[in-house]
């Protein structure tokens, strides 16, 4: 009788335990994860909204953080460095938890970024860095990019490979990080290759019409021009138009965030090659950095992380339907 009783009791216990297992175990990291983000505030100060890069970053960061209860807001200085500096200054007073900063040039915001960190705000810089390093930088390695681009120029244009050796460069704004660091990279490589001659090196202010006029003159003066390097695909629609009008076969190597217009441009022959830093990927990197900073809870400025974006050299041959991405407003 006693044996029967014990057996029944054991069975009952075992059943109960089984039922308990089916209910699941609570994940101990969930609560700290979600509570790290609830009620936090992230502010984004781009150079300007309204173009593929910044719209893409904003959309990506918003999609990653808002479901976690983070408030995400954008202060759009619309290409004005002054307005941007004011936005950062007022943000320092408002004390968001994280600021995401897209620098118009390497100097302007440097002091403000330090001030923000001192005030206890994490600062993540995106794509164009300031001379002051903050908690995190997410973006292209422009020096490395310049070196790789210079290497492509040598492959395409060196007399040993059948080219004329003449190339032209169209920069954006001279003081932008994208221009300064990239020129450094290009010079690092080309200084060892005297056979490559830079016949024109001008800034077009990120404007297609200026880029077109510069390219038209460069081609005019150097009918055997082998390649033009442009620093932004949106601006280089102008460079492409100049090449098309000249009827010459000039290799156009441009770069950008990999928006659908870049792939369209490769497909219809506007661009020969586009160096792509994938914007949705960068947005994810930014969001992940923010998540890490908010979970580690180190005082701002104690750690410095750099995440260089993987670069892709897209051509008509190697691109796939999924190489580029689309902005919501373009769908």
């Amino acid at each position: 009788m006693k044996l029967l009783k014990t057996t029944l009791l054991t069975m009952a216990l075992a059943l109960q335990a089984g039922a308990g297992l089916a209910q699941g175990i609570d994940d101990a990291t969930r609560d700290p994860y979600y509570s790290a983000f609830a009620g936090k505030k992230v502010a984004f100060v781009p150079v300007a909204m309204g173009f593929d890069l910044t719209e893409g970053w904003a959309a990506g960061i918003r999609a990653a953080l808002e479901p976690l209860g983070v408030t995400f807001e954008i202060r759009d200085p619309n290409w004005s460095t002054d307005a941007g500096a004011q936005a950062i200054t007022s943000l320092i007073a408002e004390k968001p938890d994280v600021m995401v900063i897209h620098n118009p040039d390497v100097q302007s915001y440097a002091r403000l970024l330090k001030k923000a960190e001192d005030a206890g705000i994490y600062v993540v810089q995106v794509n164009m860095r300031s001379s002051y390093s903050t908690d995190a930088f997410v973006g292209a390695d422009y020096v490395g990019m310049g070196e790789q681009i210079a290497q492509r120029l040598i492959d395409k244009c060196s007399p040993a490979n059948g080219g004329s050796g003449k190339v032209a460069i169209t920069q954006g704004v001279l003081t932008a990080a994208a221009s300064i660091y990239q020129m450094q990279g290009i010079n690092n490589v080309l200084s060892k290759h005297p056979e490559i001659q830079v016949v024109s090196n001008q800034a077009a202010d990120w404007d297609a019409t200026k880029a077109k006029n510069i390219a038209a003159t460069a081609i005019q003066q150097n009918p055997d021009l082998c390649a033009i390097v442009g620093f932004w695909d949106v601006m280089d629609t102008g460079t492409a138009a100049a090449i098309k009008e000249s009827g010459k076969n000039v290799y156009l190597l441009t770069q950008g965030g990999g928006n659908q217009s870049a792939c369209d441009g490769l497909a219809n022959g506007t661009y020969s090659e586009v160096v792509v830093y994938n914007v949705p990927g960068q947005a994810r990197d930014i969001a992940d950095m923010i998540k890490q900073l908010l979970q580690l809870k180190q005082p701002p400025g104690t750690t410095k992380t750099t995440l260089f974006t993987q670069l892709e050299f897209l051509t008509k041959e190697n691109m796939t339907p999924s190489s580029c991405w689309k902005l919501a407003s373009q769908k």
């Binding site: 202010d205 297609a208 019409t209 460069a218 005019q220 949106v234 492409a240 009008e245």
Partner: protein, 324 residues
């Protein structure tokens, strides 16, 4: 000064352009070739078309600082509508209508509300850009949609080996010339610019003529915008915030259209445009840095204004009312 005194500013600037041409031709190999000269004129033809628009307003003793903003926003809106599926002719018509309507509003503000042109158009420029960016277009740079590819000919094509934008520039100049010379309202416009009170007394409908100036400039500006958009297959609305409108004023003033109104004609715009074209082309061939180019352009503008002040001393009326 005696020797120069007999020359008009237009002639001086033209001589300067020829002199620079000669200098570049000797110093820069490849400058004086047919292709480069065509390229030179093509590269400034849009600036020249805008110069005609600005010239018409300045001759009427006004100034239009909203010209570039209106051009950018109205054409970008057309492109965006076309990209969104609106048939191209309809999209262009809507953009043009927006442009003309805004031009009319600006004109009414100046002619009837009597706000000084410089303030009215400055404010309108900001308003148009802000309104456009918020309500009409969603990106800074609007691409020419595939449905409008045939349209590209206007900005990128060539006729008998001459780029089409040059023909558009020529056509705009010719129409502007004929308007000023033969149309009654064209002659009224000059009269209003020369002396508003006198024109009013002689029975010229001065206020409608002032409105007309801004409607014309918005129309010609729209044409310039279409050429820009087709020339680079996109419309960059950021030009609204750039110093481009001052380049346009530079062309007008440099050519010898006095800011005090009533003087000058389309020929002055052409001369001013050519000088800028020669200058920009030469500097680009010499690979002069962009910032240095701005310095040179600024110095040339100042020189032109100084020459203008010396050659065309202020009359009593200008001294009382100010330049603009």
């Amino acid at each position: 000064m005696k020797v120069f005194g007999r020359l008009s500013q237009e002639q001086i600037v033209f001589a300067l352009a020829l002199l620079m041409c000669a200098g570049f031709a000797i110093a820069l190999p490849g400058f004086l070739t047919t292709n480069n000269l065509l390229n030179l004129v093509r590269s400034v033809s849009i600036l020249g078309i805008l110069g005609v628009a600005m010239g018409l307003v300045v001759i009427g003793r006004g100034i239009d600082l909203s010209l570039v903003a209106l051009m950018a926003v109205s054409v970008a809106w057309s492109l965006q509508l076309a990209a969104g599926g609106v048939p191209l002719p309809q999209a262009v018509a809507m953009g043009l209508a927006f442009s003309l309507l805004t031009g009319t509003i600006t004109g009414i503000l100046i002619a009837y509300v009597e706000i000084p042109a410089i303030f009215a158009t400055l404010a309108m420029g900001t308003l148009i850009y802000g309104f456009g960016r918020y309500f009409l277009i969603n990106l800074d740079v609007i691409y020419l949609p595939d449905s409008a590819r045939g349209f590209l000919w206007l900005g990128q094509g060539a006729l008998l080996g001459v780029p089409v934008p040059i023909f558009v520039f020529a056509l705009v100049c010719l129409s502007g010339y004929l308007f000023l010379r033969y149309a009654r309202s064209g002659r009224y416009l000059r009269a209003v610019g020369d002396n508003l009170q006198a024109a009013r007394i002689t029975g010229v409908p001065t206020r409608p003529i002032i409105v007309l100036q801004y409607v014309l400039s918005s129309f010609v500006g729209f044409v310039a915008g279409i050429v820009t958009a087709t020339s680079v297959a996109s419309m960059n609305t950021r030009v609204a915030n750039s110093t481009y409108v001052y380049d346009v004023i530079l062309v007008v003033v440099l050519g010898g259209i006095g800011l005090s109104g009533g003087r000058g004609g389309i020929r002055n715009v052409i001369v001013g445009t050519l000088l800028i074209g020669v200058l920009l082309n030469g500097m680009t061939i010499m690979d002069i840095q962009y910032t240095v180019q701005n310095v040179i352009k600024g110095v040339i503008l100042l020189t032109a204004i100084v020459i203008d002040t010396i050659l065309n001393p202020r009359d009593e009326q200008t001294a009382q009312q100010g330049d603009i």
